[in-house]
Symmetry: D2
Subunit: 288 residues, 4 copies
Amino acid sequence: MDSDTTARLLITCPDRPGIVAAVSGFFYSHGSNITALDQHSTDPLGGDFFMRLEFQTPYLDLSKPALEKAFEEVVASRFHMNWRISYASQIKRVAILVSKYDHALMELLWRWKQGQLRCEIGMVISNHPDLQEAVESFGIPYHHVAVRAESKEEDERRILELLEGKADLIVLARYMQILTPQFIARYPNVIINIHHSFLPAFAGADPYRQAYERGVKLIGATAHYVTEELDAGPIIEQDVARVSHRHSVHDLKEIGRDLERKVLARAVQWHLEDRTIIYGNKTIVFAP
Amino acid sequence: MDSDTTARLLITCPDRPGIVAAVSGFFYSHGSNITALDQHSTDPLGGDFFMRLEFQTPYLDLSKPALEKAFEEVVASRFHMNWRISYASQIKRVAILVSKYDHALMELLWRWKQGQLRCEIGMVISNHPDLQEAVESFGIPYHHVAVRAESKEEDERRILELLEGKADLIVLARYMQILTPQFIARYPNVIINIHHSFLPAFAGADPYRQAYERGVKLIGATAHYVTEELDAGPIIEQDVARVSHRHSVHDLKEIGRDLERKVLARAVQWHLEDRTIIYGNKTIVFAP
Amino acid sequence: MDSDTTARLLITCPDRPGIVAAVSGFFYSHGSNITALDQHSTDPLGGDFFMRLEFQTPYLDLSKPALEKAFEEVVASRFHMNWRISYASQIKRVAILVSKYDHALMELLWRWKQGQLRCEIGMVISNHPDLQEAVESFGIPYHHVAVRAESKEEDERRILELLEGKADLIVLARYMQILTPQFIARYPNVIINIHHSFLPAFAGADPYRQAYERGVKLIGATAHYVTEELDAGPIIEQDVARVSHRHSVHDLKEIGRDLERKVLARAVQWHLEDRTIIYGNKTIVFAP
Amino acid sequence: MDSDTTARLLITCPDRPGIVAAVSGFFYSHGSNITALDQHSTDPLGGDFFMRLEFQTPYLDLSKPALEKAFEEVVASRFHMNWRISYASQIKRVAILVSKYDHALMELLWRWKQGQLRCEIGMVISNHPDLQEAVESFGIPYHHVAVRAESKEEDERRILELLEGKADLIVLARYMQILTPQFIARYPNVIINIHHSFLPAFAGADPYRQAYERGVKLIGATAHYVTEELDAGPIIEQDVARVSHRHSVHDLKEIGRDLERKVLARAVQWHLEDRTIIYGNKTIVFAP
């Protein structure tokens, strides 16, 4: 499937005739085979167009920088494209923020170790010391940075220093602190959070209790990109599980843990494979 | 399964030791076999207790009225029970209210004709004339009662007159009018509505558009008992279907239709089989 | 979405570089906008390639026959393509064969009446007279052709005569007769059957009883293209529902009915929208 | 929920009137509160009856042995019951057999560490040395016992010696050796296997490849009790995930891993909580 010779192109532009022909013609003429192609249009007449293209690099007749330059000049500028190319050989660097619950974190580490998540997990940062041993047993550095109400900005600054230049993606794997707008602005569109409800239901604190009190018959989990507004960013993935009157808040948490693990792992994998494009407050996901 | 000799007892009472022994001993001593028994306790110490019991009537040593009287005196009063017995031979009478969309209505009529919904559908009432022929082809009376803003109370009174003494259950099968508190008070705990979202997300108008605009990855439908507060009554059943960025609002409506049909049909069936107990703002469902 | 100006191209060919560029360039150069594109390759090196392309016909610079001729000469022959173009304006004609159970049939007729299945249902043929009134109420001709063991070939010949020149797709909506190889050979790759199990489990007769006796925890339904070997043709769609020890064979049938309705309706819709390509004993489904 | 004072009674007997009254009356009269009760009857007339009862032990007026003796004499013998009582305070001892794949094993260890699986995991036995470090990091002994075709009986004897007197439940967490009938006979009804298909489809070797070649649209996993006939024992739990033509055998394995983890974990938990009763070739599961 995914090998070191794979590259991925993501495009957003106004829809109009000729885009596919121009893009595919460009890559063909430069010796590159297209191995996957997904596209979406909100409306062929005056809407927006999105494309994800996987191509192979071994027989390119140009260097990568020259290819990108040529693509901009020959294709992208003509169609007013917002685009970027990622190379599978440039492994993305991930930092995970976590508090005390380990289930979402462990699921990511386990899948990473299995080779299912193609990335480098450069560090885990936590506002608690509890998970240090578990993380270090995977050979991953663990940084404990206490975050206190009275020194929140300063504490966050320490986290930003740890991350500086070292993270292409930040995953909040049940990190129970609200990030400041400054932090979020520093990492636009590359912070993924797992919220333990079926958003937009039960945003905010203690969603399993909220679900219990409302008497819903399904509980959910939602992975989304983090924006300034709490639990309101573009949704990447959601899933639900059936519950009944027999389940206590404690049971909902236990059932929900499995949802959170699964939903967050999928969202992170799709981001790492460049399958997501943020479009306004939504996420286009070219799922496999 | 369910035959004319089946009866069902529903109980709510404070939990304390001895309830099961007292209830099952009572029915055994009067010649009745228990063929199904479900129970639930919110907390064995000081919580509330719920029970659904199916028993068979052929070899009862008492008449039904005498049995009910004896049960009250010997068992129910001792445990401060809120209880009722339903006899499968006393077919429940259902009235369906609908506007223009026929999918939820047709699903109910089709299942009823198949014998899956054991009830008498006494009438369909609509604020539009459109579905008259379809309904009458099932041999069911159709009443068109226009509901206008300027005469809403009077129009609703006409509906109440049609229902008077003829409905044990009222089903809102995509009835696009909001019932007045007076109407709801007249039929407490026996009006079931299908809402076309995963409540509490997207209450109110046009939930598929709301879902589209929020960019959720699953859409849902919710069947609930109607209370004064809009879309906030006890939830009986919910289900979801997966959607993606490819789906327009029109697509969501089409996918959602199948959810609405399924979810409403289940909720109605469970009500008809006396599987539901309303408890505060929740519904206990002893599902089969 | 789908309008009278939509056309769909389905392609199967050996994979090699340049296919997407050639196809998309061809349509662009002839004034046609591509509004959807799906592709699949079993292996970019020496595998097989499949493509579904939706394009719009209003601004074509060629007539449809001329376009097809040019496509063959300029593109298809070069890549050794097996291909066909369907025009949404050429409504497919469907014939439904059914026995006594009406649920799968009614679901199709109901969706067709809703406008969800874009086709002409030209006739329903049954080996029983039971469903005549129900079918004719939709304005669809109903033919009762008794099929008896002693005259099976002759009876089938009558069915073939009714179908002759009038069916682009034949749907077996719980038709309880096994078709002869001659019949199947007459309609290759355009007969869809619904089997009431999760194939390949429980092929053959009475699958719900087989499922009950094996004690499975999920039951299923499978829609597949009909080939000579019973219940072994290319699978289009499957789905399952959860069951338990509480469910009798009768219950499984009732639960399974809903599965059969849903699974068959999806498969028929995908076929009508030219979303399926048969590949050996599998079906490639470019689902929406 | 489950505390040290909880006990569980499992009953199988011919159905006849009076069972619930006798059982519940017995426990009430001895000072024990019933906190959960599930029952099932294959047929109230001449069928078999099953019951699971959770009761609390703190206020029993008899010792546990005396209670069991009294239950046999007063209730069980009268109804010809096959029964047993388990006490939550008597933690079950589990041994896990595994080969090289670690996903099912790790899921069990992780849940056990979380406190979700109430048991003692006394040992992991493997025919490969690979997972030693991972297992020992949980503080659990790891025994490597090579199993070779030429000395299979002797190798199995070594495993039996390790298990002797130390395992109430044996879990095959992707153990790729077929157990001999002698081994199975030594541990009747307490060996749980996870099979990586939706049984009875794709029994035997390499089920993901079988599924790929048949072109199914859902893949599954099945947890079952092990009997002499391969992959044919009583099914405890099954689940499925959707796949498409895009998925290679490798993809199916990756998707299937998540199913296997989930399905095996549920089955083990239900066994540990005494929620399963084997009945012929089926498993009655009183799920929470």
